[in-house]
């Protein structure tokens, strides 16, 4: 850092401390601050999502559809290629897709009409296909985590976004899904985590809602797995 920038930093911190009436490093209760800095303790999780697995799944679907996402159920991964094809056909979309490497393991050979390209999205891609780290029932929200197998551009550039979400990955609240992320990535958070609730929208012209402002116009969620996901507790939660 240059001398000027170092001076600005020191001046701001000094000013903050002077206004708070404290000397440097003089924190009131250091252990309380350290505890809060570590995170991991939810403040208040609304009752809405504290329900069993079946109701949680139903809540997820209801909330996602309320914000104009569409959903469909597939009992097993074998049904997924057909469901993707049906979505494309239903909207008269070409059968080319750009796909996140994380979902290449699905039995795509079963749908030879689909043309799949693996990688990040370019501005001309019409439909993107990704997985999701988790679903959050409270608001029908998808949690997308960037990584070598899950590029972020797929969530935003294509006009249509198709998401494959295993039903066992649906959590009640955001905090529960983030706790799972902390477990998987304890050293640091991933570069980018996107929480997505419905397709892109704007009301900037005369307060009239329009879908597809800059991100996808359509968000289609394919729920993969048995009707009732196993276990009553959210995945990742002990007991």
């Amino acid at each position: 850092m240059s001398a000027g920038k170092e001076a600005a930093r020191a001046a701001i911190l000094a000013r903050v401390r002077a206004s708070l009436g404290r000397g440097p490093g003089e924190a009131a209760r250091p252990d309380e601050l350290a505890r809060r800095l570590a995170g991991g303790r939810p403040n208040l999780i609304p009752a809405r999502s504290r329900v069993g697995a079946e109701e949680r799944l139903a809540l997820f679907v209801r909330m996602a559809e309320e914000v104009a996402a569409s959903t469909v159920r597939c009992a097993s991964p074998d049904e997924v290629p057909g469901a993707v094809g049906a979505f494309l056909a239903g909207h008269n979309l070409p059968s080319e897709l750009v796909m996140a490497p994380e979902v290449e393991g699905y039995p795509w050979h079963a749908a030879p009409t689909l043309t799949l390209r693996k990688g990040r999205a370019s501005k001309d891609d019409l439909t993107g296909l990704t997985g999701a780290f988790a679903g959050i029932a409270e608001t029908g929200t998808l949690m997308m985590v960037a990584g070598p197998k899950s590029p972020t551009t797929l969530n935003f550039l294509p006009d249509n976004h198709v998401v494959l979400l295993p039903t066992g990955r649906i959590f009640g609240a955001y905090e529960e899904a983030w706790a799972e992320l902390r477990r998987q990535s304890p050293r640091r958070p991933p570069t980018t985590v996107n929480f997505i609730t419905g397709p892109s929208r704007t009301a900037d012209i005369e307060q009239t809602m329009q879908l597809g402002a800059h991100g996808p116009r359509r968000l289609h969620i394919i729920l993969v797995g048995p009707d009732a996901p196993p276990g009553e507790a959210p995945p990742g939660e002990e007991g």
Partner: protein, 476 residues
């Protein structure tokens, strides 16, 4: 941007006479208020969350030095950079240096009130760099060369017809020569025009809703997805944020996020909530190569520990603005700077000085709606009163007003004189007002009687009436 806060009264009068503006403002009356109310009712924990949110921010502000340093350490450990800036000038310089180092010709921008506060666009343009606003509302007002008139709906003062005219005029250069009437078509055309700009931009600049000390994350909330394209596609991502955006941890973010969208637009959650925690890592297929957080103070550190500290809890949800009868009558531009409505009336004098913005704290009917709907429980009317006191103490109010108040104050401190003088004045006024019991004109009170009558007093002082009443009831 040009500041016209000192001319609030004149601007407000003009706004009230502007038929197009009044039509545009009419749209917000139906939208925000009812939707917020519904969203609030759907979440029984709403009020408890407000208390928690207030406590989280109070705690953070009380230990702001600690959390700022912790945040900086995390960002650095994750290959990002934090740039501390005391003033708008320092912030602009830091941003320009980054842009020049990577030889940026265009930058895309997500909505950022801090970028407005430091007047970044004009500065970049003056230095040969083209800023492209990507939030639809911001894009519209950029074409119109106007400042935002609302912190979450910057083009709320524009009618669809005006947007249509702007696009017709400016989109010709892209071969779009048809005049469009439908909102859908206008949104689509903006999308098509902006798409190549995202890809071509060398630097993306966004705002921040929260800075998270625990994870070194910047949290960015939008409905359009424009800030995510702005972050992800260019080589460099610059975040502009002010120091009070800190919160301790991720759980704290979610507590406050449960209030933000509900208070703002009545949504359960905004469409996109992004935690950005540094540049692209080894092996990732996209994301920015550099990550910079420009941390602006601009007088906020001076506000800590004062009677105005509570405004630093503000999360810019705009609920106070949407519920303000003054804002709804005159719109945002009358406030003359970046922030408007009740939060603007408190914040603007703090950031640009009470001499410049002295009228704003008076732009209130003290109806109290703003405080009642503020999810961060900020006592806005009380703070406006504090500014009025300071304005008076600092000698910024008009001389006739000051002389009147001083005379009254002197009388009030001399009860033996106060009684008889007031009795005389009241009796005189009651007789002068005549049978209508109202004044159309009153010397020295033109500000009041210009738009409404002044009611005549009852003919007796309150204390005299009180005593008479007690005596009649036989009380002590």
């Amino acid at each position: 941007m040009e500041r016209t806060s000192h001319a609030f009264k004149e601007s407000a009068v003009r706004a009230l006479q502007d038929a197009t503006l009044q039509m545009a403002l009419g749209n917000m009356r139906v939208g925000f208020v009812g939707k917020r109310q519904k969203a609030r009712e759907r979440l029984p924990e709403f009020e408890r969350l407000c208390d928690l949110a207030r406590d989280i921010k109070d705690h953070t502000l009380k230990h702001l030095d600690f959390y700022l340093e912790a945040f900086e350490a995390r960002v650095k450990a994750q290959d990002g950079e934090v740039h501390w800036c005391r003033t708008p000038a320092e912030a602009r310089q830091v941003i320009l240096e980054i842009c020049q180092r990577v030889e940026a010709r265009t930058v895309t921008k997500g909505k950022s009130m801090i970028a407005e506060e430091i007047a970044l666009n004009e500065f970049l343009e003056a230095n040969g760099i083209e800023p492209v606003e990507t939030d639809l509302g911001e894009y519209i007002i950029q074409l119109a060369h106007e400042p935002p008139s609302h912190i979450i709906a910057p083009a709320i003062h524009k009618t669809r017809e005006q947007v249509s005219d702007l696009f017709f005029e400016h989109h010709r250069q892209y071969g779009k020569t048809r005049r469009l009437d439908e909102t859908r078509a206008l949104v689509d055309e903006a999308r098509q025009v902006l798409r190549p700009k995202y890809v071509a931009a060398d630097v993306g600049i966004t705002g921040a809703n929260f800075l998270v000390a625990e994870t070194g994350s910047v949290v960015i909330v939008t409905n359009e997805g424009n800030s995510d394209l702005t972050r992800t596609l260019p080589k460099v991502h610059i975040v502009t944020a002010s120091i009070e955006k800190l919160v301790p941890n991720v759980e704290d973010v979610w507590t406050i996020l449960r209030l933000l969208a509900r208070s703002a637009t009545g949504q359960e959650l905004s469409t996109y909530t992004t935690f950005a925690s540094g540049p692209r890592q080894e092996g990732e297929l996209d994301g920015p190569g550099e990550f910079h957080v420009v941390l602006l103070d601009n007088g906020r550190s001076d506000v800590l520990g004062t009677e105005f500290q509570d405004i630093l809890r503000c999360i810019r949800c705009a609920a106070c603005i949407n519920h303000c009868p003054v804002y709804r009558a005159v719109g945002g531009h009358a406030y003359g700077w970046v922030y408007s409505g009740p939060m603007g009336a408190v914040l603007t004098p703090m950031l640009i000085g009470i001499e410049e913005a002295g009228h704003l704290p008076n732009a209130s009917t003290f109806c109290g709606r703003c405080e009642a709907v503020c999810p961060m429980r900020i006592p806005l009317p009380r703070m406006m009163r504090h500014w009025r006191e300071r304005e008076f103490e600092g000698g910024h109010s008009p001389p006739t007003f000051r002389r009147g108040i001083k005379l009254w104050a002197w009388l009030a401190r001399h009860p033996r004189l106060y009684g008889p003088v007031m009795a005389l004045a009241i009796g005189l006024m009651a007789r002068l007002a005549g049978r209508r019991r109202r004044f159309r004109v009153l010397p020295l009170a033109g500000g009041w009687t210009g738009s409404r009558d002044f009611p005549a007093p009852e003919g007796q002082r309150f204390m005299a009436m009180w005593r008479a009443r007690r005596a009649a009831r036989g009380g002590p």
